[in-house]
């Protein structure tokens, strides 16, 4: 009974907000508060430490994206030559279809090498991008130096690259690559058919007799035929001689790419033109690729 009355008095006295806390209250708050501070501040610094580690991953991601942007800028240099050459060739009377203009917008996926097999009859390179990342068979692969090879097998998380040293006219794995010469894209043409292992040179055949190709010209893929992208650097011309039947010339090309100790490669993703009725769909996807590139 007494306790009840005391309780009601206590509630009545404290219910309306007071100016100052009483001394015992202040004392209690201060003493417990100091112990709370001892626990709270170390706990907050530990949790900040872990959130910093979580942000590290963010920074790493940013780094990767910036690296991709830098690689993109390196590629623009080659694309620029094509744009300049194409501008000269355009005439007002030609009718450009939208999908033809956007066909040469390539997406370069950066991939890391995870294993190299140097077996001379069967050299392969494994990378850490697979079908889950959009890789399909027969995509071309380049390094910073030039064309490396094509993707031959794809599994969900890894893929296998067959390098250009396996170019063989009799092999079912690698089909011939059409090529032209930097600076003379409309006049020169050849087909990369074989790789001579003893001299370590790519053999380019089916060159016309009156072709203006010369020694030390830079060979690039021409993209005619829509299987391989255009504008990928291959190598330099070393020697041109008359071919087997005397009708065409044959050139040996010294490849740019060094196959040893590779770390990163770029897989070139093309936006394939299937047929004209799907032009709108391609417009959407190429717009998406443009936005992705700008975002990076």
């Amino acid at each position: 009974m007494v306790g009840f009355i005391i309780c009601i008095i206590l509630i009545g006295m404290t219910i309306n907000g007071r100016d100052k806390l009483t001394m015992p209250e202040q004392f209690l708050k201060d003493s417990i508060g100091s112990v709370q501070k001892l626990i709270y501040i170390p706990a907050s610094s530990v949790s900040n430490f872990f959130s910093d580690i979580a942000e590290l991953k963010q920074i790493y991601k940013e780094n990767e994206e910036l690296r991709q942007v830098a690689a993109l800028y390196a590629r623009e240099k080659v694309e620029y030559n094509f744009v300049a050459a194409e501008n000269e060739r355009l005439q007002q009377a030609l009718e450009f279809k939208q999908h033809q203009q956007e066909m040469y917008d390539y997406n370069y996926l950066i991939a890391q090498v995870i294993a190299i097999n140097n077996d001379p009859n069967n050299p392969t390179i494994n990378i850490n991008l697979g079908s889950n990342h959009g890789i399909t068979k027969n995509m071309a692969v380049v390094t910073v130096d030039g064309l490396l090879g094509i993707i031959t097998n794809v599994s969900p998380f890894t893929s296998t690259i067959t390098p250009i040293t396996q170019l063989n006219s009799t092999s079912p794995v690698f089909s011939a690559i059409s090529a032209t010469v930097l600076g003379k894209e409309s006049e020169s043409f050849g087909v990369l058919t074989d790789y001579d292992a003893e001299q370590e040179r790519i053999v380019m055949s089916l060159i016309d007799e009156h072709d203006p190709m010369m020694k030390d010209d830079v060979v690039i893929t021409s993209g005619i035929g829509n299987l391989y992208p255009r504008g990928l650097l291959v190598g330099t011309v070393e020697m041109i001689q008359v071919g087997d039947f005397g009708l065409t010339h044959v050139a040996t090309v010294k490849p740019f790419v060094k196959m040893n100790q590779l770390t990163e490669v770029f897989v070139v993703q093309m936006n394939h033109v299937v047929d004209q009725s799907t032009t709108e769909q391609e417009l959407e996807t190429t717009d998406l690729n443009d936005n992705q590139k700008e975002g990076e």
Binding site: A115, N117, P120, N122, N153, N168, A197, N260, Q261
Partner: protein, 177 residues
């Protein structure tokens, strides 16, 4: 050391061959020295434990190499690792051999293996270059590379594979009792 630990060890060596060795071999020699350390271990198992182990390990690791690095065809390394392992096992199973003989057997086996692989690739027109060029460029340098590895791991490998057979014998003798 039972067979499972040996398989795990060879698997670890396989992964290291693909990922670590390209960085250790100097890049001017990269396409001349090709590590096939699992093959050396398979020949060791043929010489010091039974030929069936050599056949099994050879088929298993040959298939693994073919699938992981599938470029042109599956089955070349698979077949030859198994057959040469089994052949060496039949000829030399559990004989008392000294070091020099073992090393020369490993050398001859590797030579046979690499020439056979080149021959099959030549048959299917997948081979690069002529046979004398291939011999000088990659078969013989890799042979020496493999022999150096064989000399380094000779004593541990022999102990490892001899224990494999001993445990089996002791198991069967206990069952007979």
């Amino acid at each position: 050391m039972n067979i499972h630990r040996i398989v795990l060890l060879m698997l670890a060596i396989f992964i290291l061959e693909g990922s670590l060795m390209p960085w250790l071999i100097p890049s001017s020699l990269a396409d001349r020295l090709i590590p096939h350390f699992n093959f050396v271990l398979i020949i060791f198992s043929a010489l010091y434990s039974s030929r069936h182990y050599a056949l099994g390990l050879g088929l298993g690791f040959g298939l693994l190499q073919d699938i992981m690095y599938y470029g042109n065809a599956i089955g070349i390394h698979f077949f030859f690792m198994g057959i040469i392992g089994y052949g060496v096992g039949i000829l030399f199973e559990r004989k008392r051999l000294n070091v020099l003989v073992v090393i020369s057997i490993i050398g001859l086996a590797y030579l046979a293996y690499d020439c056979a692989v080149y021959g099959i690739n030549y048959l299917f027109r997948l081979a690069n270059g002529s046979f004398p060029w291939a011999l000088i460029t990659h078969i013989l340098p890799s042979l020496f590379f493999q022999l150096i590895f064989a000399i380094i791991v000779f004593i541990p490998a022999r102990k490892m594979f001899e224990k494999l057979v001993v445990t089996n014998y002791s198991d069967t003798s206990e069952e007979n009792l």
